[in-house]
Structures are given as structure tokens and as C-alpha cells.
Symmetry: C2
Subunit: 390 residues, 2 copies
């Protein structure tokens, strides 16, 4: 091990360098590349499963639809949560069985519902009358779960009111589904992406349990509770580890719902984020003015080429550079495009080595989720994020 490697390896933000990070450090890339370790996905699947008990994992394909990830999860017997017809097709083409795929987007084209139904998908999400009408017409008799809006949680990427119905409409929608000949089997919700501790689920679970009890009271024999995602990844702030986290969530559910025959969990970020890292490059380090407090550091990847989750500085990635043993200072971090909105972190600057300069490699840690598919097709002529699987 040479001095460079030793120095680099010594730099450790609270945990050891991962396999993908080691691989990136030893490799030269021509353009930004997401490197994924599928064995890490498998280990995380087992860790979550160990805590989830009888709950079934439906991987949220949108987090990262990379072929090798889906294939491995098919081998492991995972279910899948698909956001679109293309995701249904992808899972089917890689060996998933249609009964293990749920069509979880509450907003679907009629012809996509029809496609999924004919492909054998039997479980659909809905949160509105018109959606139930479409499903009843194009997937007659299908199983339905109604998604509820829950109040803002303590998640790092909290959800808006975009998905779900108010609790005042739950029973009506269940009734309507039944009257349309559908099979209303349960409820779903989402606690908010990147919910760092299991205890943060309590308030949300209390709300859903109330709706659940009311629906049963109204005569609906609910058998499915879809608890959505929210399982966190490590971005520098403490998170509960997966098995303990999942076990505690299940315990909180048991306390509020008793035994539910079918519990579905839809981890995306929590399953794949820590399995990936991005190899990027520093393009420019500059100061705008003599009296500027902070340097500007420009990378060859930005908000429109994979790091969309830096929107409003919500997700705060961690960085590794070959100069991390040197003194650091705060930087404003920006992407390579000519768009002034393509600034990653400005309100809360990032600490990076003072000696950092153009041409240096930079590793963005725990980037396996919500990066490759968020990349634009070619904004400013920059190609989409490249992906390598090790």
C-alpha cells in the first residue's frame, strides 16, 4: 500500500471505505460514473428482512432500476413496487412473477393499467375516485389498496400532499372500490423518505391505525398494510442500522394494528443507496472576488446529471478526495452545466481540502439511490450518468 492509498484510507467519516469506494479510487473514469456493488444490495436485503419478519419486501424499483439489482432481488425472492408500465415490463423481463409486482403509482394511464392487468399484475394503488374507475374498467376485480395522506413527519425528504387521500375519504373510496367490483384489501402510506430512526414512525402509524380501525368498523375486511418506504441510508448523520430499525417498526405496527396478515414494505433508498458511490472530477476551484469568504468548487456532475436530490439541499452527500488528510475549508459546490440553478450546496457549504484543484478525483458516497435515472438525457450536452456494476 503506497502513501497515497494509506492517507486516503485513513480518512474515514464514521465508517470504513466501502468496496465501491476502493474500486473508484483505484480506477480512472472518463466521465461521472455510478459504481454499484450488488453483493451489498443482497446483504442489505437480508439485514432488512431479518428485522421485517413476516413483512414482505417490495423493492421500490424507481430508486435504481439497474438490471443487475433487479436480477439479484428476483433471485432473493423479493417483490417489486413499480411506478410505471416500463418498470412493470422491466421486472417481468428480468424474471419477476407478476403476482410479486404491485403497481404502486396512484396516478396511472388507463392503457398502462390495462397492460399490467393483462400481464398478470393483480395489486394496484389508488387514492381517488377517477383512478378507481379506471382500474375497475381496465383491471376488473383487481386488488386495491387505498393510499392515505399522513401529516408531515420528521423525514429528511418529507412528502407533500401529492399522494394519498384525506382520512375523511378513506371509507368512501373503499366502499366505492367494492361497489365497482374491485377487491379493496388494504391501506398504504409513506412516512417520508430518509426517516432516520424507527421512533419517528410513531405519529404516522397512530394516524394510519385510526383509519384502519375505522375501515374495519365500517365492515372492510382489511388484510394488507403497505407501509411504503422511508428506510434511511447513511449520509453523515446517525441512522439506526437496518435490522434494528425494521424490527422496531414492525413492533410499533404490531402494537397498533395487532397481527396483520400481509404487511408490505417498499424500501428503495434503504436497500440500494449505500451500495453505490459516484466517481466524479473537480473541474474548477475559484474565488469570485477578493473578499469572498468561500471558494467555489465545480464538479463534472450536478443537479441535472444525477444529483437531483440536492434540490433545496435536502440530501447532503458525503465526499472523499485524495487530499482529505490536508486542512479543509468551506466551499460552495456546483455542477458543470450553464444553469445557474445547478448549485448543489450553498446555504450550508461543504468542507473540502484547501488544496483541492481541477482534475482531482472526488468520490460521492452512498449514491446508489435516486441518481442514475434522475440524470437528464443530455442537458448542456452532458451524457447521462454512466453506471458500472462490480
Amino acid at each position: 500500500m503506497n502513501a497515497y492509498v494509506a492517507d486516503f484510507a485513513a480518512l474515514d467519516f464514521s465508517r470504513r471505505e466501502s468496496r465501491v469506494e476502493t474500486y473508484i479510487r483505484q480506477t480512472t473514469f472518463d466521465r461521472p460514473t455510478l459504481v454499484i456493488d450488488v453483493d451489498h444490495v443482497e446483504a442489505q436485503f437480508h439485514a432488512l428482512k431479518a428485522g421485517l419478519g413476516h413483512a414482505r419486501i417490495h423493492y421500490a424499483v424507481k430508486a435504481n432500476p439497474q438490471r443487475e439489482i433487479i436480477e439479484r432481488l428476483v433471485e432473493l425472492g423479493s417483490g417489486f413496487d413499480a411506478a410505471s408500465r416500463a418498470e412493470v415490463e422491466l421486472c417481468l423481463s428480468l424474471g419477476a412473477r407478476p403476482e410479486n409486482i404491485s403497481f404502486g403509482n396512484t396516478v396511472k394511464k388507463a392503457r398502462d393499467i390495462e397492460f399490467a392487468y393483462h400481464a398478470g399484475v393483480t395489486l394496484f394503488a389508488a387514492d381517488a375516485e377517477e383512478e378507481l374507475e379506471k382500474i375497475a374498467e381496465f383491471a376488473p376485480g383487481a386488488q386495491i389498496y387505498i393510499r392515505l395522506i399522513v401529516d408531515a413527519s420528521q423525514a429528511d425528504w418529507p412528502l407533500s400532499r401529492k399522494f394519498g387521500c384525506g382520512r375523511d375519504k378513506t371509507i368512501e373510496l373503499l366502499d366505492m372500490a367494492r361497489d365497482l367490483g374491485l377487491d379493496p384489501v388494504g391501506l398504504s402510506f409513506h412516512v417520508g423518505s430518509q426517516t432516520k430512526q424507527a421512533e419517528m414512525w410513531i405519529e404516522t402509524l397512530d394516524q394510519v391505525a385510526t383509519a384502519w380501525a375505522a375501515a374495519k368498523e365500517a365492515g372492510h375486511e382489511l388484510s394488507l398494510l403497505n407501509i411504503g418506504g422511508g428506510f434511511p441510508a447513511y449520509y453523515g448523520e446517525a441512522i439506526q442500522r437496518p435490522t434494528a430499525y425494521a424490527a422496531r417498526v414492525m413492533e410499533l405496527i404490531e402494537q397498533r394494528f395487532g397481527h396483520v396478515a400481509h404487511v408490505m414494505a417498499e424500501p428503495g433508498r434503504g436497500l440500494v443507496a449505500e451500495a453505490g458511490a459516484i466517481a466524479a472530477e473537480v473541474l474548477l476551484v475559484s474565488k469570485k472576488s477578493h473578499n469572498d469568504l468561500h471558494r467555489w468548487v465545480y464538479l463534472d456532475i450536478g443537479k441535472f446529471s444525477g444529483l437531483a436530490e440536492t434540490m433545496d439541499e435536502a440530501i447532503r452527500y458525503q465526499f472523499l478526495t485524495p487530499r482529505d488528510h490536508e486542512a479543509t475549508g468551506p466551499c460552495i459546490l456546483a455542477g458543470p452545466s450553464c444553469d445557474s440553478a445547478d448549485v448543489l450546496y450553498e446555504k450550508r457549504p461543504v468542507e473540502l481540502p484547501l488544496s483541492l484543484r481541477s482534475g482531482d478525483q472526488i468520490i460521492i458516497r452512498n449514491c446508489g439511490a435516486y441518481t442514475s435515472t434522475y440524470a437528464s438525457v443530455g442537458f448542456n450536452g452532458f451524457p447521462p450518468l454512466d453506471v458500472a456494476v462490480i
Copy 2:
């Protein structure tokens, strides 16, 4: 003309239905599609040119790199402003001469500078020491313009401090360029995208004129003023029409700079936005709760599939539907993805027909700029925005 068409045509937000809008209304699309009228681009080129006088147009390719647009502009003798190596390559492959292409991104990879230089590109932007060093090494002797930061303007999509140097560094950077063997020929700035009236340029031009005079005073024989973009498109609020707008900007420049040998203008949005419209479809209309004030309307296109400029509700698109002759009410408008951030307009709801429903076609007006390339490669499995040229 049948009743439907008559009704639809009668619906006119301050100006007539365009050719692309008529085309969309008469066509069925399987997925969201941007339709572009290249003759409209040509007409707009002539309209801007008529006002710009001796100033040369360098089309900002990033606004829309569609092949047919570039080809038409090559025929018309336009220059091009490229944001990346891929954009330089695109222009060259479609017949642009390298001396008509400027590499306008102030943040470039060293190997991309080298590529452009060897391809014959002679004009490069810079705003920092390290960038000048890269250009001096990989494009020795190249012509340089230094980009200045200007104070926030009255633009609808104002620029951050991401690009440009403070005015206290301008002369230093010009000196440094000269000392590195480069040819510092001028200055550039950007007034901010979608600056609706020429008079809004005054404050910015005053700032740049001060820097220009100081640089000349310091012995720099500046011959190039790159005035960037900012030329507006119609999004429902009054804008000055292109010839009058451009003529007034040139007049304001003449008053402050006297005769400048080479003036470059880089319209992007102002050249192509009004030449395109998007065909989209309503997926769902719903109310979340009985006491909700507004309906939610979900489209098959959103923030991650072409409408990125709705970020912070900055660019407010106009819509046409086949039901526009009916009574309207306010809606929250959202995209099709499972991302809660994929909401287009919520703070300021959009007026749409009360009878609007799933399956209805919706036309998004004046979408020719900053849509197709902003689309993600496949977020949630949705394919990138399709493009058709008429």
C-alpha cells in the same frame, strides 16, 4: 371546421393558435411529445437579427439542440454558443464552422478544451485563474472573454453568483490571460433569463460599462462584448416583441459603450421557446379531502420529464385544453412520477376547466426551450420527452 375545432380556436390567450398547437390538436400522441416548427425558429431569427444590427447571434445550443434547429441556423449563418464538448461536436457535425462556435461554459474539462481547440474553436469563456491556466495549456493563444457577475436583475429566472468574476478581479484576469499568451478580447455577462423588457437591461449594462471602461483604461484593447441571453418568450405576461426589444438593447449598448467592433448575443429561449409546444395528457383529476379548496390535476409530464423550469414555479407555462370554453377553477398541477417534489404549480394554482378529466389532451404552449434535454433518462421508468419536428 367542426364545432369542437371552432370552440378550441376561439380560446385564445392574447394571441392566435400557433402551427404546432394546431398540429397537436389534430394528432393523437402515445406519450408526451414536444412538437417544433423550424420555420418559426427562422422567422424569430430574422426578427431578432433585424433589431440586433451588426451584433452577431450565437444560438445558445443548450436551449434546444434538436438537429433540425441547428441545421436551419447553420443555413441562416448563425453562430453557436456551446456549453460542452458534445455541443461543439453536434454543431460541427451539422455543418457549423468552428470559428462560428464559442465555448461559452466558464467551467470546462481540460481535455474538452483541448478537443475544441484542435477542432478549430478559437473563442473561450473564463471567469477564474485556474480556467485561464487550463485554456493557456490546452488552447494556447486562444481568444478569451472574461465573464462578469452582475447584480440581480428583474429577470424571471435570475442568475445566481455561479458564473462570472467580481468586478474587482476583471482587470487581473485580463492581465493574467495576456501574460499566459492568450488573447483577451472582451467581456461577457448575462442579464438573467427571461428578461421581459429591454429597459430592464439598463442597470446591468451600466455595471458592465464601468468594468469595460476600467479595462480599457488599464490598457486592454477590448473589441468583443458578449451580451449573453435573456431574450424573453411569451408565457402569458406581456413581453416586448423581438425586433423592438433587440433594437432597444443595442441602442442602450451604443449609448454606454460607443461603437463596439464585435457584439455577440446568445439567445436561446428567445429564439426557440415560441417555436414549440408539448402535447400532454391528463391522467387524473381528484380532490384529496371533502374540504379541499383546489382540485389536483395530474399530467403525464412533470418536473423530471421536461418541465424542469417549473422549479420554484419560476417559468409559468400556459395551457390549452379542448374544454377551454367551459367554466374554470383553480388547480394544483402535478407530474406523473412517484416523487412528491414533482408538483408543477401549487403556490399559485392554475385555472383549468372544471370539466377536465383523465384522458383529455392538454397543450403546453411555448415549450421549445429548456424542455427536451432537461428530461430525465428514465426516472420512474418514464421515457424522455419525445420530439417531433414539423
